[in-house]
C-alpha cells in the first residue's frame, strides 16, 4: 500500500496531541474521583509523581487508560521502562499504540 508521506506525518502529529489530551483528561477525572488536586500547570517536563497524583492515583491512571485505549503498555514491554515525566509517559503510550 502506498502512503503519502505528508499525510502520514500529519496523522502522527494529530495522534500525539490527542494521546496527551486523553491522558491529561483521564488524570483530571481520577484527581476529581480521588479528591486529589493536580498541579495547575502540567507539561511534558512535569514529574508524574509530583503532578498531584500519588502512586495509587498513577496506578488507577494506567488501569483507566487500559479501559479507554484497549492496552496497557507496561504489561507489554520486553524492555521495561518506568517513565518519570509526563512527556516520557505519553511517548510510552504512543510507542505501544496498536
Amino acid at each position: 500500500m502506498l502512503v503519502d508521506e505528508g499525510d502520514n506525518l500529519n496523522n502522527e502529529k494529530q495522534e500525539e496531541v490527542s494521546m496527551k489530551e486523553k491522558i491529561l483528561e483521564t488524570m483530571q477525572e481520577i484527581a476529581a474521583d480521588s479528591d486529589l488536586t493536580l498541579m495547575s500547570h502540567i507539561d511534558d517536563d512535569t514529574v508524574l509523581l509530583e503532578s498531584g497524583l500519588d502512586s495509587l492515583g498513577f496506578a488507577i491512571l494506567v488501569a483507566s487508560l487500559e479501559e479507554k485505549l484497549g492496552y496497557d503498555p507496561f504489561s507489554m514491554m520486553d524492555e521495561p521502562v518506568y517513565p518519570r515525566t509526563l512527556g516520557e509517559f505519553v511517548a510510552v503510550y504512543e510507542r505501544y499504540a496498536p
Binding site: 480521588s34 479528591d35 514529574v47 502512586s55 498513577f58 496506578a59 488507577i60 479501559e67 518506568y82
Partner: protein, 441 residues
Amino acid sequence: MMRESFDAFLEDIESDRESLVSLGRTITVRELREAAQQLLKDTPSIKGCAVALCGLLPHELITALVAFDGHVSSMLLLPASLSEEATSLLVHSAGCEWRFDSLMEQPVRLSEGMGKFTEVQPTTWILATSGTTGTPKLIEHSLETLTRTVKRNVSRASEYTWGLVYDPFRFAGLQVVLQSLLSGSLLCIPSEKDISAQVKYFADSRVNALSATPSLWRKLLMTEGIHHLPLRQITLGGEIADQGVLDALKQAFPQARIIHIYASTEAGAAFAVQDGRAGFPLAWVDGEDAPVHIRISERNHLMLRPAQLPGGEEIHNRIDRDGYLDTQDMVKVEGERVFFLGRASGVINVGGNKVNPEEVENCIREMSDVADVVVFGKKSSMLGQLVVAEVLAAHDGDRTELKKVILQHCRERMENWQVPAMIKFVNTLAENAAGKRERIN
C-alpha cells in the same frame, strides 16, 4: 541462630562499627548498647513487665528494643500513624503495664506489674497488623521468629549500608532493622517522608542495600536519582514479584543481587528466589533441594511443611495428613516454573496492602442507592492489583453522580487503597458454578 537477646547479638560486633544514622547523627554499636543500658538502668521497675512502645522516633525504638529484649515479658510496637483511640485500646488489650511515647520523657505506669518474668526468658514482640480498618490485630512474635530469614555474616556485613523505606514499627521495616543491625551493617534512616528526598538521602549516604515491595520498587524506578544508588542487594517482598519489575531492576542495577522473598505469616516459613525470574522452580515441588517442603494441592494451593508448625485451631484445620499447611496462595505451573496467582480467599493485594473484598462490599452495600455489589481485584502493572467494584444500582439515575457518592462514602470509612479504583455499573452480578461470587479476574 538463636541468642538470648537482641543485645547478645550486638556483643559479637566490633563496638566502633557504625550501626545507624538517624536525624543526621551516626551512632556506633557501642553508643547504641550504652544508650540501651542507660535506659534499662533508668527504669529498673520495668523488668518483667509488659511494655508498650508507641510512636517513638526510629532510633528511640531501636534503643528501646536493645534495652528491653530479654528483660521484659513483652514489647508492644505501635506506629505513630495509629490514632490515640486505637493505641489506647491495643495497649489495654495487650495488658501493658508501662507505656513509652518518647524516650525524652518518663514512661507512664498503667498498672502494677505481675513480676512473674525471669530474665533470659524470650521476650514476646507484639506487632499490629496493618491494612484493615477498625482496630488492628495483634500478632505475637519472638526475636527468633523475626530473625529466621536474617542472613548473618558479620565480617561481610560491613560492606552493606541499608536504607530504611518502611516504618520500623511494621513487620517489613522491622525485618530490615534486624537484618542490618544484627549482622553489623549500617542502617540509614531517612527523616523525610517524600520519596525523592529519601532517594537523594540514600544516594548521599551511599546506601547499597534496599528492601521494598515490588510496587514500591516501581515507584523508586520512576524517581529521579535512583540510578545513582550503588545498589548491591535488592530485596522484594510483601507481594508477588512479576517478571517486569525484576527485569527493570536487573537492567537498572546489573551488579546487584536481586532476590524476591515468599513469606507466609501463618506458616512462619519463607523462601528466597535468587535467579532473577518470577515464581520459583518447579523442581522445588516435592524436591530434595527445596528450601522448604513444598507441594501443590489439587485446588492449586501452595502447601508448605515448615520445620515448626504454629499452633491455633485455625491453623490446625489447614494442615493436611502429611503435615503440609495450606498457605491459601494460588499457584499455576507453566513449564518448569511455578507462578503465584494471588490469594484463594480473594484478598486483594494493593501494593503490599491487603484488602478484604467482603469488607469493601459491606461498606458499599450500606448505601441505600446500592442494591448489591461485588468487589474483586484487577491486575495492575503498577501496584500488583487494584480494587474494582461492580455495582447494581437500586434505581435509575445519574451514574456519574452515584459513582462520586460511592467513592466519597468509601473514602470516609476506609483506607485509600481499599477504596475502589474503578466502579462499574452492571445489570446483574456474576456468580460462579458453586454459587460463590467469582473474584478472580
